[in-house]
């Protein structure tokens, strides 16, 4: 049982984003639905196709260590599902479509500086211009270039707005 817990903790640790979690939950649902009539080879093939790349290795290991009893496997999946759903989400609005490297960099920072059990929900919003806007546990904070520029021109807002409107028309 301890081995199984370690396996599913390893999987949970590899999930970095909300999108990866959704894909993994869909994989669990599919596998659980075919649990009593699926071979190990088929399970591996499904893992390779469905599971997010970051979690494939951990999932492979977990599946190899799984007992043959389908009921026990079902229990492990349910536990894994609960653990995934318990992850907290840090929403990050950025001005670019984040590459995997950027996501990995951010996730590593969060894991190191904030702690485990947090995944990212990265949204591309070009109006941010640069930097990031965060939403976490119902709170909001903005460290964007747009905000900095807005503050910079705060005193001449009317003038700038007129310029924008003139440019837009």
């Amino acid at each position: 049982m301890k081995e199984q817990d370690a396996g599913h903790n390893e999987i949970v640790d590899t999930i970095r984003t909300k999108e990866e979690r959704s894909r993994f939950l869909a994989f669990i649902e599919e596998l659980a639905g075919r649990l009593f009539r699926i071979s190990k080879e088929d399970a591996i093939r499904i893992i390779q196709v469905r599971v997010p790349e970051c979690a494939v290795a951990a999932t492979m290991r977990a599946v190899t260590d799984l007992p043959a009893d389908p009921e026990t496997v079902k229990g492990v999946f349910e536990k894994l599902e609960r653990a995934l759903l318990a992850l907290r989400i840090l929403r990050v609005d950025v001005a670019i479509s984040p590459t995997d490297a950027v996501i990995e960099h951010m996730f590593s920072w969060v894991r190191r500086e904030v702690g485990r059990g947090i995944i990212l929900d990265v949204i591309c919003d070009r109006t941010v211009l640069g930097g990031a806007r965060f939403v976490f546990e119902g709170r909001y904070r903005e460290y964007t270039l747009a905000k900095k520029i807005e503050k910079f021109f705060e005193n001449d807002r009317e003038y700038i707005s007129k310029k924008f409107l003139h440019h837009a028309s």
């Binding site: 670019i96 920072w109 969060v110 109006t127 211009l129 546990e137 904070r141 460290y143 270039l145």
Partner: protein, 252 residues
């Protein structure tokens, strides 16, 4: 002989009486027809119709009564006169034939008087019957006429009322329909205008956003002193995370 004259006189009297009755019948019929024709006079209003119908009916029947009475009286007079003439003529015939004796004359006179009396009585009876019949007919006709008028009047009144109600209903329905159409038209126009406004607003905002974004990119470049490339973006994001941590944003 006397009997033969008497029979002739009786036949003559009967013929005359029959002629009078026929004439009387035509007169009465004419009066009734005149009254019946007046029923077809187009009315102006329900109240006027009733009033006029009543007045006309009364006039018609009063006139009919008077005429009938006059006719009957005249018929009686003529009958008496005719019988008298018949008597006179019979006497002349008898006298000219030099066949009259005192007894025969007396018998003839008695016979004629009896005939005259009998026919006068009969004629009077006929006249009475005719009058009674006429009065009954008149009453019936009057009632029928009144009923017809009443029905016609009611029908006209009912028709008028129904027509008014129908017209009122039509007006109300038409007004409601027009109001619905107007409301619908206004609503459609309003929706259309709102749609146009929303589209225009969206388009304008998009233009503004694009302009702002373009200007801000330029400004960003000026502010940062360089173009914001992927590496710079990553630096800015990591810097944002550091700032958030410093401000204890991640501390619950």
């Amino acid at each position: 002989m006397v009997q033969a004259f008497a029979d002739i006189a009786v036949d003559y009297i009967i013929f005359i009486a029959f002629f009078i009755l026929v004439m009387l019948w035509f007169v009465i019929k004419k009066i009734f027809l005149k009254g019946a024709q007046s029923e077809h006079t187009p009315p102006s209003s329900s109240a006027d119709i009733l009033l006029r119908a009543e007045e006309k009916a009364l006039r018609v029947f009063n006139s009919a009564d008077a005429r009938a009475l006059k006719i009957v009286e005249e018929a009686d007079k003529r009958a008496v006169m005719i019988v008298g003439d018949a008597d006179k003529r019979a006497a002349e015939i008898i006298h000219s034939a030099e066949l009259s004796g005192a007894d025969i004359r007396k018998l003839l006179e008695i016979s004629l008087q009896e005939v005259v009396k009998k026919e006068s009585t009969r004629l009077s009876s006929v006249s009475d019957e005719l009058l009674a019949s006429y009065r009954t007919s008149a009453d019936k006709a009057q009632q029928a006429y009144m009923r017809t008028l009443e029905v016609a009047s009611n029908t006209i009144t009912g028709d008028a009322r129904e027509g008014m109600l129908r017209f009122q209903k039509f007006l109300e329905e038409e007004m409601a329909r027009q109001q619905n159409l107007l409301t619908q038209f206004i609503q459609e126009r309003r929706d259309g205008v709102l749609r146009d406004i929303v589209t225009y607003k969206k388009s304008s905002l998009q233009k503004i956003d694009e302009s702002i974004y373009g200007i801000l990119l330029l400004v960003s470049k000026e502010v940062l002193g360089k173009t914001v490339d992927t590496e710079t973006h990553q630096e800015l994001i990591m810097h944002a995370l550091d700032s958030a941590k410093k401000e204890n944003f991640f501390t619950i």
